[in-house]
Amino acid sequence: MATASYPMDGVAGQVKRPALAEYFTWSIDHKIIGVQYIVTSLFFFIIAGALAMLIRWELMTPEITVMADGSQYNTLFSIHGTMMIFTWIVPFWAGLGNYLIPLMLGAKDMAFPWLNAFAFWLLPPSGFLLILGFFIGPAEAGWTSYPPLSTIYSPDGQTLWALSIHLVGLSSILGAINFIVTIKNMRPPSMGWFQMPLFAWATLATSIIVVLATPFLAGALTLLLLDRVAGTTFFDATSGGDVLLWQNIFWFYSHPAVYIMILPGFGVLSEVLAIHSRKPIFGYRMIALSSMAIAIVGFTVWAHHMFTSLQPELRIPFMITSMIIAVPTGIKIFGWLGTIWGGRIRLNSANLFSLGFLSLFVIGGISGVMLAAVPVNIHMHDTYFVVSHFHFVLYGGSVFAIYSALYHWWPKITGRMLDERLGKIHFVTTYIGFLGTFMPQHIVGMQGMPRRVAVYDPQFQDLNVLISLFSFLLGISTFFLLYNMVVSTVAGRVAGANPWRALTLEWQTTSPPPAYNFAGEPVPFEDPYGYGTDASKAYLDAMESRFGPSPGAEEERRPPSGALPEPQPAGD
């Protein structure tokens, strides 16, 4: 069995990473697979982000100017959306979970290492299929692919699209089964359900949704593929089919999928805010249980995506459930505010992105409640207001959480710190670029600009130019992160085992951890967020004496007088 060649001794102050080549092999080490996931998804993020830039470039004029025709534009946003969802956010969380869950639970690996590798290796081919579609007549029916546009009116790329999503779906299901079994069965005996880190709770809730919801997509895609290639007419109303059947089954999956994308982000936030505010998470059990509540209620709200197509009398029940789901989300937000209140908030990049998440996600949440109201929805449906809403929760939410997670766990994964100054520049440009891009979209949407159009009413041009300019800033901001990652990997400051002095188990081993993660049996501190107690200080000090001090934390512990020299910038 191939495993990574980590040092087993875990000598302090040293960074021993697996050889680069291992990342290109069929490895069954969860840490290798985690990094494979993360890097692959980042690759697709950059491609899909470039498509977004093209979209915004096109939208600077109310006519089609950059693209050849409307189809090409439709392709852009279809692939943009599909890639961002299925090959960026979902697999990123799978990758982060892969890397962290066994570490957080003190396990040596995931429950099924081979299955884990198999699930990952489904991802590159599916992304490849999506891109291949560009060359044989691309999918242009949007990421929702409503028939009959996606069946009788679409080119062959739509078939590739469906195959590609099928593969990602299978990958998610296998990954999720692995997560559930790992979380349930592989904790140390002393770690009860309610001593798990909240990221594990979030991953558990996410995985339950994946196992129960993703098969709906698989089923729907199978029928769609049959319609496309075998001459069946499941969704063709002119031949005894039903267009709403697709919409229902698709949203059976795709609404829960929204929580697949955001729940791990909630988990990240619970970790980062507690650790970087040096305070226990406020109301652990409610934050843990609200994840499960969201997972359950999330199955009952799908039809709010169909408020303009569903029979009018069926819309009300879904309005009720859609609004109710705001309650568990609110519990989390208030819990996080309680966590930072009175803490020692470190304004480092990881925490800045989490705080930024908090401020942006609230806006997305509020516009979400507005959209849940049927009368408001029938005005806003399929307009830029909706585009803005879901970018607030998926970019301002999920992607900000992803950034936060990268800054927070990068030292663990690579053994080196990301540069803080670049990180702050990254945060500021992202935050401003984001607000400038997506705030005005609320307005154009309210005023009457539908989504998915290349040709629009010229009265919206001014705002669209403004949006596009800010979106270019947002695009550029990403490069600060990429540059930072590259430079840090090669020459960043060495992190040490536990630069943040965090209590969860993944920090109680070397960075990066050795093969099988822990030398000997890990000893968890059973209150994962018990900051401020004497016991936690003793535990952290003991750990420090075991693994040596964490030089990465120098900046955090600088005395007021400036007795220590300025932190050395990356590369020194």
Partner: protein, 210 residues
Amino acid sequence: MSQVAVEQHHHEMSAEEKARSIDNQKFAMWLFIASETVIFSTMIVAYIVFRIQEPEIVKGVHEALGLSGILLVTFNSFLLLTSSWAMVMGLREIQRGNRAGMIRWFWLVAGLGVAFLAIQYYEYVQMASKGITLYHDPSSEFAGFGMRFYAPTAFHGAHVFAGVLWCLLVMRRASKGVYDKNSVGVEIFGLYWHYVDIVWVLLFTLIYLI
């Protein structure tokens, strides 16, 4: 006063609990079955909606099949039920340490699976000759039935096929003694096989009898 009533979380496991404790592989198999249930439901619902909206067509299909057709399918159902029984008997043998006995039963399992597929193929040919096609044929009197019939049954058939292959694999491994000490590998194949059987029990009733 408020109680975050956390029971003593690392108590000794009772014998009862040990018996009920969860094996990784079995748990994963059950989760996989959970996913499969949802996939099958999308295809079954497509059929049920059709059955409700076009009862006459379905009745027409039943008439076209005739009593002999129904009896053939009933016989086919028996094959699967018998294979399930053989499966569980084989599992009992290996749990008792009787490797040869298990392999004998599993030959029956695989053979019945193949027989099921053969009869299903024969039935498909019969159906096709009556004008029940997978693609939509507006001129057929059974228009719309074919796709809703073939999709779930063929998907199920694919599961039986995969099951037969798995069965052969299990037999090969069993003959090497892999399961002598721990039969979980056989048990999870059993879970899969019985699940496929259950799906057929439902499809049989929904499609041929109702």
